[in-house]
Symmetry: C2
Subunit: 334 residues, 2 copies
């Protein structure tokens, strides 16, 4: 249930990191591009084939030391449907190799449409009498601007199919504060709110007063998570909390004891190990730290030979693991 | 520039509607499914082929009376990469038939990742020396919970490639008020905000005080839109405003004079023509009203023969047009 599989894998590998698979073509060694272009020309198919080869080589080098990968949907969609096929094949390959797959799509919608996203990434699609899996990930990132209607359709999948979600709470970008840091007024009883509003069921109603938008969103994660608890204290509803905001990260760790964190912003976005330490609990659990460019482009930064791109990624992943373990307790099951 | 092409087409056809292409398999006549399953089995490929045939027949019947279509990405992604190929082919086919294509993906991210989404849906992907188009839509729906960083990367595409976006402002679902209707406190000068926050450039900083989250988001649309104005008074940055909130819709129309509205919730979601009338200006412009199930499932509701599913959609689209024109001025260019 919930993030339990991820947590066990983090403890097994003594490594709370996730490798972000954001494969821009400029990150790929030229021999992979040349091979694929020789077969398909400079086409979306060619790009997609080169990316799949890149991802598979990285997964082969990372799967015994890094617990999870996080493909970012945008970098596959920009290569059209062939790119999206590579996304599906990457998800399958990483899971075959035992990795936990977090699909970073930041999907959001309501009702049957959100159900369709859930089906696509966490569920099974019925076609006639058959059940098919479209993109069989373990977890999906979600944007909850639309409220409970955009999250509730995923909770049965979390409960019944051992899946999980990460809701955007506090993102790592400079302008994240424009909305997320704004403080909410106390709600009047006679607010000019919605037709059909179901106050009894709405997670964001029950928050403490005088909080910021991101704190309200975090509180909602705690409440949504009650419907899908886990064995190690963390529910199936996690939160994205950026590493560029260390004080907020530590405060949220205390405020949201059942919410597992996905933390972007380590390395390339400016955050270091000290900045993410506040995201962890006393067991060295409670967060998984993402590095994308740092790992993918290690071969370029270190001046490694092109052929050694995946080994350079492994070396960087091991360095990152040691960096994190120098500031947090060694991960162990509670 | 901006929504000008959509506006001209609305005036030409005297019809401010968009047909939502949300093709659940249960909406399809059985002969389309049987044909496709005979060739591909009950597989994702089979489903995707049936949906493409369904969409093409609908587009053929709608393209001379309805200005735009809005494929909802979730209903294609749930059929895996073959479904996403059908999405790409649907976008191309609708544009070949002269329709304006709004891709409803509610995408959101930051920086280079948001650029990748822009490239996928509004731009061109560079592969070696070639420029390819992945999903060449005219407009994309966007969720701006992440602030200006999630919108700014799309504005150059709007300006330079005659594209547009719709930002989620006030959605049509019951729980939309949980966050969107919450009132924001005045900002203190010493707020505990972000490292690297660029106050001078942040759209949501410049809003009127004591507004709700959705009003702040609407104001941000006006400001973002200044970077990509249009010929008829509406910028390239539109807003999604649900038809289930008629009072809010009318108030937002007055408050956001340069922001074109995409209005879901007509018909199946409970809104009628009177509920959406407030979204239009004195020229009968300023909004496009979506109907998905109402049009797609017209053949089921009217008891039409299966073979006549596309004709039934056309009849419903004409009925909807007359319904709207009974409560708004006949659309004309200002």
């Amino acid at each position: 249930m919930s993030f339990d599989r991820l947590i066990r894998r983090i403890a097994d590998l003594q490594n709370p990191t996730v490798a972000g698979l954001d494969p821009k073509l400029s990150y790929l060694p030229s021999f992979l591009l040349e091979d694929a272009f020789a077969r398909h020309g400079e086409t979306l198919e060619g790009a997609a084939e080169a990316i799949l080869a890149f991802n598979k080589a990285l997964i082969d080098q990372l799967c015994d030391i890094v617990p999870a990968v996080k493909p970012q949907a945008a970098y596959y969609e920009m290569y059209g449907w062939p790119g999206v096929r590579t996304l599906a094949e990457t998800v399958r390959y990483a899971r075959e190799k035992g990795m936990y797959v977090i699909l970073d799509g930041k999907r959001n919608d309501i009702g049957t449409t959100m159900q369709a996203y859930g089906t696509a990434y966490l569920g099974q699609t019925q076609v006639g009498g058959q059940l098919c899996e479209a993109f069989p990930a373990d977890a999906l990132t979600v944007n909850a601007y639309l409220g409970t209607d955009g999250v509730a359709p995923l909770l049965p999948l979390c409960r019944d199919r051992d899946k999980a979600i990460f809701v955007l709470v506090k993102t790592s970008n400079p302008s994240s504060g424009e909305l997320q840091d704004r403080r909410l007024e106390e709600q009047s009883s006679a607010s000019d709110t919605a037709v059909g509003r179901a106050s009894d069921e709405s997670a964001l109603d029950l928050i403490a007063q005088n909080v910021t938008v991101y704190e309200a969103m975090g509180d909602a994660c705690e409440r949504w998570g009650k419907e899908a608890p886990g064995a190690y204290g963390y529910s199936s509803v996690g939160a994205v909390v950026g590493a560029t905001y260390p004080a907020q990260l530590a405060r949220l760790r205390r405020a949201l004891p059942h919410t597992f964190f996905l933390v972007p912003g380590y390395g390339a976005q400016g955050g270091g190990a000290a900045d993410v330490a506040g995201g962890f609990d006393d067991c060295g659990l409670g967060a998984v730290i993402n590095s994308s460019r740092g790992i993918l482009c290690a071969w370029q930064k270190t001046g490694a030979a092109e052929e050694d791109f995946a080994k350079a990624a492994r070396t960087e992943a091991l360095r990152m693991k040691e960096d994190l373990l120098s500031v947090i307790p060694a991960p162990r099951l509670p």
